[in-house]
């Protein structure tokens, strides 16, 4: 099981918004592919799937404001 954690985007960037998930819960995902897009004040970021597996849980939905260190979802390897 791999938690997808919003990385520390820098001291000054405290939060970000989930723009959209490229997958739904239950979808198979491959390491390196686009998983979720998040937006900060300055830009959008495509977060890659850190491992291959099944996206078993989306913990932070689209439009939700998330903070560094927060779990966005879970992939079962």
């Amino acid at each position: 099981m791999k938690e997808i954690i919003l990385p520390d985007m820098g001291e000054e960037v405290k939060e970000a918004t989930i723009s959209f998930w490229h997958h739904e819960e239950g979808d198979k995902v491959t390491k390196g592919e686009d998983l979720v897009e998040i937006t900060t004040e300055k830009a959008s970021f495509q977060v890659e799937a850190p491992v291959s597996g099944v996206l078993s849980k989306i913990s932070a939905g689209e439009g939700e404001v998330v903070k560094s260190g927060q779990v966005l979802g879970i992939i079962e390897e």
């Binding site: 520390d8 000054e12 989930i18 937006t39 830009a43 959008s44 970021f45 850190p50 491992v51 439009g63």
Partner: protein
């Protein structure tokens, strides 16, 4: 929910699976080193979208003289206010960081210190000297403030013999009052000119943010002004609003337009041009030195 940015204002974030914190291992290594040495970077201060990519490659742009700026530029998110006293040990710590990160090219910038009698020039001098003393082969680029036009201050920085001196014009003259209150287009241009007059073998560099409402003709004029004073390197990137209290983006310039500007600048015979939405003054600064400086010295 649809992103409010055009499709080209997107960066990739790769999460290394081995790292429990969820961040890339290299990114955290760089971050930890900077925090251990109590150093500031413009990457963090300016909320740079390239931070992840650069830190992953163990590179950063150091910001000396503290993290509080005495100017109030409307595009910049570096903290403003009354700065702390100058940290005399900072130059040594920067030198250690350069060594630890094994940098071949380092960019050193600063907040503007209008409160100091020498405007911070001696700290630039000490930092370049310290970095050089334990990293003899590193290419040193300083990105300096305007020192309120002080020739003495510029002279002091040049005495340390950095390979590249950058000073950013940031925008076109008609937008200075709005974007860089406290600065002057003419003064900034004169500063770059003075560097070449005093030390003609030092490369000069300047950077522009696009998307603040400037006209194409104005950009071309700035390019011509820079060439007239023999500026060697030009970088152009998209202005991105750091927070709702900063200037709004007036236009997202498509990558094709950045390409066009690059072609025009190359025709004007800048030695090196970088132009693209995510290009920043120091972004991949080592590309210039690996192409030009190494060739000259070896």
């Amino acid at each position: 929910m649809v992103s409010r940015f055009p499709p080209w204002i997107v960066k990739r974030l790769s999460l290394a699976p081995s790292d429990k914190k969820g961040g890339g291992e290299e990114v955290n290594k760089t971050r930890n080193l900077l925090s251990r040495l109590d150093l500031h970077t413009v990457c963090e201060g300016a909320r740079c979208p390239n931070l992840w990519e650069c830190f992953a490659e163990s590179t950063a742009t150091f910001m000396i003289l503290g993290k509080i700026c005495t100017r109030n530029c409307k595009f910049c998110s570096v903290a403003k206010g009354s700065p702390l006293p100058v940290d005399q040990k900072e130059p040594k710590r920067i030198a250690q960081a350069v060594k630890k990160l094994d940098l071949k090219h380092v960019v050193i910038t600063s907040v503007t210190r209008d409160d100091l009698p020498d405007r911070g020039a001696s700290q630039f001098f000490s930092t370049v000297m310290e970095v050089r003393s334990i990293n003899p082969d590193v290419i040193i680029e300083v990105l300096i403030p305007d020192f309120a036009g002080s020739r003495e201050a510029i002279n002091q920085v040049l005495e340390a013999r950095p390979e590249i001196v950058g000073h950013n014009l940031e925008t076109v003259p008609s937008l200075y009052r709005k974007v860089r209150p406290g600065a002057s287009y003419e003064r900034s241009l004169k500063l770059l000119k003075l560097v070449k007059i005093l030390q003609s073998d030092i490369y000069t560099k300047s950077s522009l943010m696009l998307g603040l409402g400037e006209e194409k003709q104005e950009i071309l004029q700035v390019m011509e002004d820079l060439r007239r004073i023999d500026c060697d390197i030009l970088t152009m990137g998209q202005y991105l609003q750091p927070s709702s209290s900063h200037l709004e983006v007036r236009r997202f310039i498509p990558p094709s337009e950045f390409e066009e500007y690059k072609k025009v600048a190359e025709k004007m015979e800048f030695l090196f041009v970088a132009s693209g939405p995510f290009v920043r003054s120091s972004y991949r600064a080592n590309e210039f030195s690996s192409r030009f400086i190494r060739k000259v010295t070896h």
